[in-house]
Amino acid sequence: MMRRLLYGNLKLVYKTSQWMRHRFTSNGILILLIMPIAGVFGFDTRSTLSFQIFSITLLLLITAICYSFFFRGRYLIKRELPDYGTVDTPFFYLCTVTNQNKKDKKGLIIIDQLRTRLPSLSQFKKIKDPLDSKRNKVDQIIGYPRLVNVIRKLRGGSIKPVTLDFISKNSEASTALSLTPLRRGYLYFDSLKLAQSDPLGIYLARKTFKSTDKLLILPRIYKVPRLNLPGKRTYQRGGINNAASVGDSQEFISLRDYRPGDPLKAIHWRSFAKNNKPIVKEYQDEFFIRYGLLLDTWLDDLSPVLFEDAVSIAASFMSSQQERDSIMDLMFIGEKAYRFTSGRNLTDTRNILEILACIEPDPEANLDRLEVMIEQHAQECSAIICILLNIDESRIKLLNKISTYSLPLKILCVTDSLDKNIAHDVNFDIHMIRHNEIQHDLTRLN
């Protein structure tokens, strides 16, 4: 009950602070903050003259706010977004304002905002903020900085308001706005606002224009070296065209008599019934190198930053396969088991990156399902690359299982600790990829 009340208050404080930031200029905020301080000290009008400063600041605010009611005019405003953005990489987009009035306009401010959804209490409780360990106990218990950080992350970025110095009557003007995405996935744009400061430079009068858009933010890509895994080319039933499909779809060529060793599922049962002898379907033979890229999505209690690193590394490998004569299967467990193939122009990199942009960590253990998935596809793979979030018992069990397929194995484990050297106790050659040194550690893979 207390927690719910506290959380309600936190949300109220957050909304108030946002309202202040959006409605007042920085100088206006200073006056807004000074006013109650002067009011407190001037509460007893006989003790100090602070109530006079309170009166002046109060009237400045009231005058500025009242002036804002006179912000009139007809405008149109629209934004033109790029197709994609990339995490932590600033990009620009255009906003065009049309002045439909009979007067020139000066000093209009364009405010674009991303949709902000406050997490529910249960969501907030589950979300971990890596910065919490650096905060003091009070901040950790009350959780306001965590809430602000979480909202910031959920929103995905902030857009600095921009001033349009001049628009002549019945014409339009464009300006660029910049945004640095803080997370991958879709960013939602809610509305565009046109604002104008009052003559005192304190308060912003605003007009809101409904303008919803969404923009996909792709994970960050690193340069990865060519992996010289000793795996051989493997026979791919159905050829290259079907190698991208998940499951058992194949390119059929003809029927032939059964030979010992043929899989039972290749038997053509109708012909078997007609001829009374086993007939199997024959497929076009094709051999090429096919890597399996295993992405560990079981976040458990680990830092979400690690998962982001793992996704970025996976994206880097998947996108690097396009110009190479090999294909790569991205395998991970989400709501169900997923396998996507990239390389040899099978799938557009953008599609793979889109998939990776929307991938979510799984709080539940899912390594057993991953094990089953590998078992199904191991025979098609020349080598396997594992991107793990941790090295623990269950993951070592998974690695042991994979090693039974006698496939060349490249194991990468992301870590947020520079000193962490967990790979010492296991028999596998594990490459630790440190959070702050991802590019450096990836370059040293070979």
Binding site: S55, I56, L131, S158, A173, P199
Partner: protein, 664 residues
């Protein structure tokens, strides 16, 4: 029209216009009588606009300055609250420009545009470089400093209208710098003028509201808290409807070496004329008592000597107050006291400071001499005359001696009346006392004391209505007597045999009844009150070394600062040692004899390329045959160069031997 550039709106505070800080500081100096300091500080802060000399402050330096400013503020706050109690907040306010001086100086004399939020907020500092730009940014603190100076100036509380004009002008000057470019002066000036004129009206209104509210609730609040009594007039709660409830707040503490006889009546003052719920005096002149030579002590009557002394701690909200004192008070002493006066009505008034004050009160065997009774001490207002006569007749007071009258009246109230703090019935003005005497026969101490005074007057005995406190509660854990607001009491002084005496006809159960509403919160409040009392100086000592504990507080604070400084020095030393070690390690083995040989080879063949290892270079310049001779030499050279724990003398000998063998 295509975009030519992005004009982001200004999200940080603008710096103060030239001269603005000086102006604000001068207002502050003028109001707080610190004009000289204000002028010097103002000039120092404006000077960087004219000179290019700057100091290079690191983030760490600024953090430390912010910490020191915080500690300074804390010391000022503790000192002010100690010496001025709650009023200390205004002293803190007054000195605020000093507390923040280091920070603003650092900003003005550094190359940066402001102070980072990490310096101002520890929570941001702890995040280090992981703090997001939303929380870690630079703030120009010059405008906030201007406001702080103005608020600090307001604590001076002088020249109301002139201060308003100057403050408004300063703020107008500041707002001028905010003015967006698109507006002209014609847009801006009417607005700022309108705001200023309205603000002038509002500030007058605020003062008026406070005055009206105070006068409206004055009577209501008077019964709840102790305030210095008006020696001329007092409104009783006679006629007040509802339940009379006084608070448990401790307002006085008495410490005595000997056990006191309780209840001890502590008189504030007496009044002689009663009309419609109000007791008043026709005149209440005070005589100033001369201070003893060279001592902060006052003897109220020179011919009397003290037979005992008590230590009194009293909370005052004004600098002049009538103190509750026993009627046999003979002397007062204490460093908090500035002046002592006494009135003909037995009141003792002191001039002192606000907050908890301490003094020693001496008492003698006889009561303080008051004036002989005045004709007013026998007057009964005609409105009450008839009812008082009726009761006096019933009690046959006219035929009794004064002593008998006293006994009869005492017995009359004891047998027929009971104590009540609730009055629900509404009567016409002035009827409440008559109803108490003749019908209800219940009331609180003011009814009893007023009725007794008038009855005795009817019997020809001069009386005065006396108010004060009844000292009756001893706190074993605090080891002192406590006087609470609810111990406020009234009784009657009567004059027989050329002497004033005391009669209290209020039933003795008044005190337990008043204490009925005591709650557990009261106990907590007692503890808080005691802590506050102790912080404010505690009990008075003979040596009167008040507030010396602040030195003890300064010791840990000083130690902390010293430790911080030492720690920083040590960090620097550590850094120096580490740098020296790193340098030593770098230089280790640079005297290897192999270098001469390498130089010779470089001259003979080709120079080593940047980043080329010795072995690779040798591979490049020598054939396989020759190269073999150098393998061991290189190993020894590397050991000599990069293995600090190796036996260097032995290695050197081996190296020389190897070089010799190569050269031969």
């Amino acid at each position: 029209m295509p975009a030519t550039g992005i004009n982001y709106i200004e999200e940080s505070l603008k710096p103060a216009s030239p001269g603005l800080i000086l102006a604000a500081l001068l207002i502050w100096g003028w109001q707080t009588d610190l004009l000289f300091y204000a002028f010097i500080i103002g000039l120092t802060l404006e000077l960087p606009r004219f000179i290019n000399w700057r100091i290079e402050f690191s983030d760490k330096d600024i953090n430390q300055l912010a910490d020191i400013s915080g500690v300074l503020f804390f010391i000022v706050a503790v000192y002010s609250f100690t010496n001025h109690s709650f009023q200390g907040i205004y002293k803190v306010l007054e000195l605020l420009p000093f507390s923040l001086l280091l920070l603003i100086l650092a900003q003005q004399y550094s190359d940066s545009n402001g102070i980072k939020t990490s310096a101002l907020f520890i929570s941001v500092r702890r995040l280090g470089d992981k703090a997001s730009p939303d929380v870690l940014y630079e703030i120009d603190i010059s405008l906030p400093y201007v406001f702080i100076c103005l608020i600090a100036a307001s604590s001076g509380n002088k020249y109301n209208d002139l201060f308003f004009i100057l403050a408004a002008l300063t703020i107008t000057w500041m707002v001028w710098s905010f003015k967006p470019r698109q507006y002209s002066l014609l847009h801006w000036a009417p607005l700022i003028l309108l705001a200023s004129v309205l603000a002038y009206g509002v500030q007058h209104g605020l003062r008026q509201i406070q005055e009206n509210t105070e006068s409206l609730f004055l009577n209501f609040f008077e019964q709840y808290g102790w305030k210095s009594r008006d020696p001329n007039r007092i409104s009783t709660a006679i006629g007040s409807l509802g339940r009379l409830k006084l608070s448990d707040r401790i307002i006085m503490r008495v410490k005595s070496d000997e056990q006191l006889n309780t209840p001890l009546y502590l008189r504030e003052t007496s009044y002689s004329i009663y009309e419609y719920g109000i007791w008043r005096n026709p005149h209440s002149e005070f005589d100033v008592i001369d201070k003893k030579q060279g001592r902060n002590e006052w003897q109220l009557e020179s011919h009397r000597t003290d037979i005992g002394k008590i230590n009194v701690g009293l909370f005052l909200d004004s600098q002049s107050a009538i103190i509750p004192a026993p009627s046999n008070i003979s002397s007062l002493s204490g460093k908090d006291l500035i002046q002592v006066e006494t009135s003909v009505y037995g009141a003792t008034r002191i001039e002192t400071r606000e907050g908890w004050i301490n003094y020693r009160l001496g008492f003698s065997s006889n009561n303080l001499e008051e004036t002989t009774p005045d004709p007013e001490d026998l007057i009964i207002t005609p409105y009450y005359k008839q009812d008082i006569e009726l009761v006096a007749n019933q009690l046959q007071l006219y035929s009794k001696t004064p002593d008998q009258v006293i006994e009869t009246v005492k017995k009359y109230f004891k047998d027929n009346f009971y104590y009540s703090i609730t009055q629900n019935q509404r009567y016409t003005r002035g009827q409440y006392l008559s109803k108490f005497l003749l019908e209800n026969k219940k009331g609180h101490c003011e009814y009893f004391a007023t009725a007794t005074a008038l009855l005795l007057r009817e019997a020809g005995i001069p009386t005065r209505y006396t108010i004060g406190f009844s000292l009756q509660e001893y706190s074993p854990w605090q080891r002192m007597y406590l006087v609470r607001a609810r111990h406020a009491h009234s009784w009657v002084s009567y004059y027989i045999n050329d002497q004033w005496h005391l009669i209290d006809t209020t039933p003795s159960e008044w005190a337990p009844l008043e204490a009925e509403d005591e709650t557990y919160i009261g106990s907590i409040m007692d503890v808080i009150s005691w802590i506050r009392y102790m912080i404010a100086g505690g009990e008075i000592e003979e040596t009167e070394t008040n507030n010396n504990w602040i030195i003890w507080l300064l010791i840990p604070l000083g130690s902390y600062l010293a430790w911080r400084l030492y720690h920083n020095q040590r960090s620097k030393k550590d850094k120096n040692i580490k740098a020296k070690l790193a340098k030593d390690i770098k230089r280790l083995g640079t005297d290897s004899p192999a270098f001469n040989l390498i130089q010779q080879l470089e001259i003979q063949f080709d120079k080593r390329r940047p980043g080329e290892s010795l072995s690779k270079w040798l591979d490049r310049i020598l054939n396989i045959e020759n190269r073999k001779k150098y393998v061991e030499l290189i190993q020894l050279h590397y050991q000599y160069r990069f293995k600090p724990d190796a036996d260097r003398n032995l290695l050197r000998k081996k190296l020389l031997r190897q070089i010799e063998s190569i050269q031969t």
